[in-house]
Symmetry: C2
Subunit: 454 residues, 2 copies
C-alpha cells in the first residue's frame, strides 16, 4: 500500500544562498596542488579550466553563504522546491518503527538532482562570455542536465560519455542530442588522452576518469571554451546544498529531525547536497546526526580507498586532489549505476570521512535492485540505479531499528528516477545481473602501481 505523505514548500522557499560547508569544518581540507610545482593552488590558477566565478567558489573558505543569482533561482523555479516525502508505504512493507523520509529530486525535467549545478555552471560561463563548454558524463544524468542548461543559456556543449554507458544507455544520449548537445563516446579518437588509451587497450569501455581527461583536453584546445563537471569539486557540492536546505525546512514541517542522513555516492554531489546543511548543525549546534554515503561494492573508494593526493582524471590533467581514491587509473566493473563509477571522492568529503564526521557503506548491485523494486512497489516511484544505493542503505537502517526496537528518523536523497534505466531493471528481472566486489588487495595493488606516477 502506497501511503506517502508529502511536505511541500512554496516557490518563495527556494533558498537564496548556497551553504559553503568548508567554513564550518573543524579540520579544513588539505589544499589542492599544482601537479608541476606541488604548490597549493589559488582560484586564479583554475581560471584556465573553469569559469572564474566557479573557480572562486571552489576556493572560497570564508563565506558561509553564497548568494544564488536571480537568473539561477528563476530556473530553479521550473521544478523546485522539490517534495519531501514520508515513505509510509515502505515503512509498512518493512514493518519498522523507523520513520523514513526522502527528498524527491527525481521531479526535475531531466529526472535528477544534476540540474541544481548544471544551471549555475552554465550561467556563470555565459556571464563571463564563454561560448563553448565541455563535460563528461557517466550514466548521462549530468550530461542531460547540462545539455538542457547549455541550451537555455545559448552555449555550445560537447559531452564525453563513458563508452559502456553510451551503449548501455543510448536513450540518455538521445536526450542530450534532443537538447542540442554533441555527444561523443569516450575514449574517443578526438583527443590525445583518448587516442593513447585506445592504442593501449582498443576495447576499453571507458571510465569517468578518462572522459574527464578528454573533456578537459577539448576545452583547452578550443577557443573561448571552458570545462565543467557534475561532481567531486566543492563548487558542485555547494550548488547541491539547495537539496538539504529545503529538506531542513520540510523536516521541521514534519516535526522531526533526522537521526541518519543518507545519499548515494559517486563523486559526492548529491550526498553533499542532502548532508552538508544538516552537518552544519553537528558542527555548530551539537547535533549528533549520522551521515552515510552509500557507494557500490564494485567501486568502494570511501570504504576501501587510500587517502592520498591523486588526479581527478585518468590522464592527469586535473590538479592533484587530496582524496580517498582507488587510483585514477581504476577501471570499475560495468554496473548499471554508471553515475557511481568514479575512482575517488571529493576532497571535502574525503577529509570528513578521515575525521569521522561521515560514514560509508558499500552495497552489492543485486541488493540495490531488490531495494529499488521494494521502493517502486511501496512508494510508486521507480528509482535510478544510483539512488537505489541510498534506498538499500535506508532499508538496512530501518531493519536495524526494527531489530533493536528503537524509533529512528531516516532521511535519504532520491537523487533521480529510473525511467531511463529500464534496461537495467530488465536485466535484473531476467536474472542477468551480477555482483562485483573489489578486495582490499585489489585496491592496494592498483594504488601501489600509481605511486610511481605521481
Amino acid at each position: 500500500m502506497i501511503d506517502s505523505k508529502k511536505f511541500l514548500l512554496q516557490e518563495s522557499d527556494i533558498p537564496e544562498a548556497w551553504y559553503n560547508v568548508v567554513v564550518d569544518m573543524p579540520v579544513k581540507p588539505r589544499p589542492i596542488l599544482n601537479p608541476q610545482t606541488k604548490e597549493a593552488m589559488k582560484a586564479e590558477d583554475l581560471y584556465p579550466i573553469f569559469a572564474e566565478e566557479l573557480a572562486n567558489q571552489e576556493m572560497n573558505t570564508t563565506d558561509r553563504w553564497i548568494e544564488i543569482p536571480d537568473e539561477v533561482r528563476e530556473m530553479y523555479r521550473i521544478w523546485r522546491p522539490t517534495p519531501l516525502v514520508r515513505a509510509r508505504g515502505l515503512e509498512k512493507m518493512l514493518d519498522t518503527p523507523a520513520h523514513i523520509y526522502f527528498k524527491n529530486e527525481s521531479v526535475s525535467p531531466v529526472g535528477s538532482h544534476k540540474l541544481n549545478s548544471a544551471i549555475p555552471q552554465a550561467y556563470y560561463n555565459k556571464k563571463q562570455g564563454v561560448t563553448n563548454i565541455t563535460t563528461e558524463t557517466g550514466a548521462g544524468q549530468w550530461g542531460a542536465a547540462l545539455s538542457m542548461a547549455a541550451k537555455h543559456f545559448g552555449l555550445e556543449l560537447a559531452v564525453y560519455m563513458v563508452k559502456v554507458s553510451y551503449h548501455q544507455k543510448p536513450y540518455r544520449r538521445s536526450i542530450m542530442q534532443t537538447y542540442g548537445a554533441q555527444v561523443i563516446a569516450s575514449p574517443s579518437m578526438s583527443t590525445r588522452a583518448g587516442r593513447r588509451i585506445l592504442t593501449d587497450t582498443p576495447n576499453y569501455q571507458g571510465s569517468l576518469g578518462t572522459a574527464i581527461s578528454e573533456a578537459i583536453e577539448l576545452a583547452q584546445s578550443t577557443p573561448n571554451c571552458k570545462y565543467t563537471l557534475g561532481s567531486v569539486f566543492n563548487h558542485v557540492s555547494l550548488h547541491q546544498t539547495v537539496i538539504g536546505l529545503e529538506a531542513e525546512k520540510q523536516m521541521e514541517m514534519a516535526g522531526e529531525y533526522p537521526d541518519v542522513v543518507i545519499g548515494c555516492f559517486g563523486g559526492g554531489s548529491n550526498f553533499a547536497g542532502i548532508s552538508f546543511p544538516f552537518l552544519r548543525h553537528n558542527f555548530l549546534d551539537g547535533r549528533n546526526t549520522r551521515f552515510i554515503a552509500a557507494e557500490p561494492a564494485s567501486c568502494p573508494k570511501l570504504t576501501k580507498g587510500v587517502f592520498q593526493y591523486d588526479f581527478g582524471d585518468e590522464a592527469g590533467y586535473t590538479p592533484m586532489i587530496p582524496m580517498l581514491t582507488l587510483g585514477h587509473n581504476f577501471s570499475p566493473a560495468n554496473i548499471h549505476a554508471g553515475g557511481l563509477r568514479y575512482h575517488g571522492a571529493g576532497h571535502i568529503v574525503s577529509q570528513m570521512k578521515q575525521d569521522g564526521f561521515i560514514e560509508a557503506v558499500d552495497i552489492p548491485q543485486l541488493e540495490t535492485f531488490k531495494a529499488a523494486t521494494m521502493f517502486a512497489q511501496s512508494e510508486g516511484i521507480i528509482p535510478a540505479p544510483e539512488s537505489s544505493h541510498a534506498i538499500a542503505t535506508a532499508i538496512r537502517e530501518a531493519l536495524k531499528a526494527k531489530e533493536e526496537g528503537v524509533q529512528k528518523t531516516i532521511l535519504f536523497n532520491l537523487s533521480g528516477h529510473g525511467l531511463i534505466d529500464m534496461a537495467a531493471y530488465d536485466s535484473y528481472i531476467s536474472g542477468d545481473l551480477a555482483n562485483y566486489e573489489v578486495s582490499d588487495e585489489d585496491v592496494a595493488r592498483n594504488v601501489a602501481s600509481l605511486e610511481k606516477i605521481i
Copy 2:
C-alpha cells in the same frame, strides 16, 4: 531561453468531484447497444465486464458531479495538483503574440495522466472484492499506471501489450513488471481472439483493438476477474476531468481564459480531461472556446472516420458503440505514438464532433517530432510522442495568431513526458522516421468491408 511560469495549487485544491459532461450535452449521445439484441444497454448489462461502480458511472446521465472517494484523493496527492505552466520560452521561440499554457500531467510517478483513471478503476474493483484485473496497453502508459495502482490496492494484473510496442518500447514492459504485473505481447496464443489472428496473419504486430479483445476474453474466463481500460469509455473520461478542473482554477490565477483548448487524441481520455470542464462553460455560460483534438495522420478517425455503430475491439466482444471509426479491424501504421493507434473515438466525443462542439486535426509524424524538439529546447521538458501532437497543434495555432496579428490564449495538455520514448527520438534524430497517411478511400474501403460483419 526557457522562461516558464508555473501556476501552482495546494493539495486542498485537488477536485472533490469529477465532472460528468453528459448531463450538460445539448444533444445526448446515442446509447451503446447489446450486439446480440441491438437493444440499449443498462449499467447492469456491463457488470459482467466492469466493476459495478464503474459501469454505473459509465451509464450515469443525471449527476453532473460524481464524488471522488477519499482513498482515491489520497492517492492523487502523490503528485497532484499538477502545475499549469505559461510556456514563455516557446512563445519567444515562435515570436507569437499568443499566450501558450500547458497543464503538466507528466509529473506523475509513471510520467503520464493515465494514473488519474488507473487509481479509481483499481479502487472500485478492490472495493467490490475483485481479485484479478486485465487490461490492454498500447505504448504502455496506461499499463504502467494501472500496474502501479493494482499493486497499491493488492490486485493481480495481466496486461496485453500491443506487439509492436512490446518490442519497440521494452522498457515500458519492464516498468509494468517492476510494479509486479504480468505482461503479454498481443496478439498472443493465450486467447481464442489472439490465436485466430495469429493463425490468419502470423506476423501481425497487433493493435489496441486486438489487445482489448484478448484482455476481455481473459477477464471473462478467469474467476473473480474484471476488465479495465484506459480510454474511450465515459467513466475513463470522467476520471480525467481532474485535469481540466484544476486547470480552470489555474487559468484564473493567471488571469486568462483559454480561447483554444487542445489535447492529443487516441481514445479520448486526456482530451476529455482537459476539455470537458471548459466545455461546460460553452454549454452553460455562453463561452466560445474552441476545442481541438489532435490525432495522428496515420490514424485519423475524427477527421476521416465514419460515424456509425462499431465495436471497441477487434474480435467484437465489446458493446456496439456509436463512434467515429476507421473500422474495428483497422491496422494503423507503426508510428511511435503508440497510445494514439486506436481505430475509434469514444461515443461522447464522437457525438460532440458530429454536433460541431469540438474540432479535430490530423498531424503527420515528422511534424510532431519537430514540435517536440522545439518544446524540449524552449521549455526543458521532453514530451511523449503522443503529447507532441497537442504541441504541434498549439504551435500551428500560435503561428496562425502571429500571421493574423491577434492575441490568443492557447491551453494544451502535456499528457506525458517522453523519457521512456527516447528510441523514437533516436529514430527522428537519425532521419529514420517517416510520415504515414490514410486516405478517405482507405477508410471507406475498410469501413465498407466491415458493414457486412456488423
